[in-house]
């Protein structure tokens, strides 16, 4: 099953039986995605823990 990443619009593969609140990573943009509804399965950006990456 696939859906589209809300951040970068690339396709994201979900497991056979996605669960609400499941967290996935977009392979393209590495955004953390959360399954927010089933039938149809939709994902949203997971709340972003502000991560420092080098300033």
């Amino acid at each position: 099953m696939t859906t589209s990443c809300p951040e970068c619009e690339s396709s994201v593969t979900l497991g056979a039986t996605p669960r609400i609140s499941e967290i996935l990573e977009c392979g393209d943009c590495a955004s953390e995605l959360e399954v927010v509804s089933l039938n149809p399965t939709t994902v949203a950006l997971a709340p972003n823990v502000e991560e420092d990456w080098g300033e």
Binding site: D52, W53, G54, E55
Partner: protein
């Protein structure tokens, strides 16, 4: 110059800016460091995290809260992560007659910059205008009487010193593109995976392709639109800015040099570096480590339409602790270079 030394305290003294303040202030002839705060190193000698200070002082760290008990402080330097002093500034202002904040919380004059660049409303916007920018080259007169000083960011200092003379002289005609490069000390002493040696070593990490906080400071100081990127490169100390802007019609390279001369001829810590020969033709931070210089230089493109400006400094000195001490010297009427004469090393 009074017999009695001016009593200073450093809050956040275990960090990189705090350590650099200690290095400069411990050797400063007119001040006495009476307090250095750190919670994580409380009770330990300052040479524990700052091994260069071994044998230079008996000072040990006090917990941050001990600031509340400190009596007779003349000056308080704040060297903590941003987001902290914006909340507690009224309390700090009561601790000493002169407060010098090295963080970003009181650098912007327009409160609207805080939600945009710091991701938060400023909790004390009414205090913003009471702070003087701690950059003597452009705020010397105000600093002579300032009791609240906000030192600009490291890349902002480089950017402002590099761009502002041309902006003031009306030589630029449009937005400035700033490509900033920085060493790893710019992100402080807190360990994390991005700063792990094996990850950070040899990096060319574009950590801020857009929206870096210092962009707002450069725009504020120059009056020009600024687009800034920031890249972490292999270095511990050192910031370099490479700035590009369209030249106003008819401007020649000699005009650019003249604008710099006019702005900086008398400045003790800004040097114009734009050579035709030799290895070091334009400013480079590697020879500036430990020094309070900001070197600035330029090159005009063949067709005269664009100018490339280059600035370099040590982020912990002229980009932080050094500018702070220079501002202190101005504020107290001491010779401006007091305690800041180290020239830097070559090779290095």
């Amino acid at each position: 110059m009074s017999e009695k030394r001016t009593r200073v305290a450093v809050a956040g003294a275990s960090g990189y800016i705090g350590g650099e303040l200690l290095r400069l202030l411990l050797d400063h002839p007119y001040v006495e460091v009476v307090l250095a705060t750190s919670d994580s190193f409380a009770g330990k000698r300052v040479h524990n995290p700052h091994p260069n200070l071994r044998g230079r002082t008996e000072l040990a760290f006090s917990p941050h809260d001990s600031l509340g008990d400190a009596a007779d402080l003349d000056v308080l330097f704040l060297a903590m992560p941003h987001g902290h002093t914006m909340k507690k500034m009224p309390w700090y202002l009561q601790r000493a007659g002169v407060v010098v904040d090295l963080g970003g919380d009181f650098r912007l004059r327009d409160p609207a910059g805080y939600p945009r660049y710091y991701g938060t409303e400023h909790p004390a916007p009414e205090l913003l205008s009471s702070f003087v920018t701690g950059l003597p080259e452009w705020h010397r007169d105000e600093l002579r009487t300032a009791d609240r000083i906000a030192v600009p960011g490291c890349m902002a200092t480089a950017g402002i010193l590099t761009v502002r003379p041309l902006a003031e002289a009306g030589l630029l005609d449009g937005p400035v593109q700033v490509d900033a490069r920085t060493g790893s000390s710019g992100s402080g002493a807190a360990a994390g995976s991005a700063n792990l040696h094996a990850e950070r070593s040899g990096a060319m990490r574009v950590f801020a392709p857009t929206q870096h906080r210092h962009e707002a400071e450069i725009a504020q100081a120059t009056g020009l639109p600024v687009h800034m990127t920031a890249t972490g490169v292999e270095a511990v100390r050192g910031v370099q800015v490479l700035c590009r802007a369209p030249l106003a019609g008819g401007v020649r390279e000699a005009d650019v040099r003249a604008a710099y001369r006019k702005a900086y001829a008398e400045e003790p810590f800004v040097r114009v570096v734009a050579q035709r020969t030799g290895v070091y033709r334009l400013p480079e931070p590697k020879i500036l480590a430990g020094s309070n210089y900001c070197d600035v230089g330029f090159s005009v493109a063949g067709d005269g339409s664009q100018v490339v400006l280059v600035g370099a400094l040590d982020n912990l000195v002229k980009g932080g602790a050094g500018s702070a001490v220079q501002a202190l010297n101005v504020r107290f009427g001491w010779p401006e270079t007091t305690g800041l004469s180290f020239p830097g090393l070559h090779p290095n």
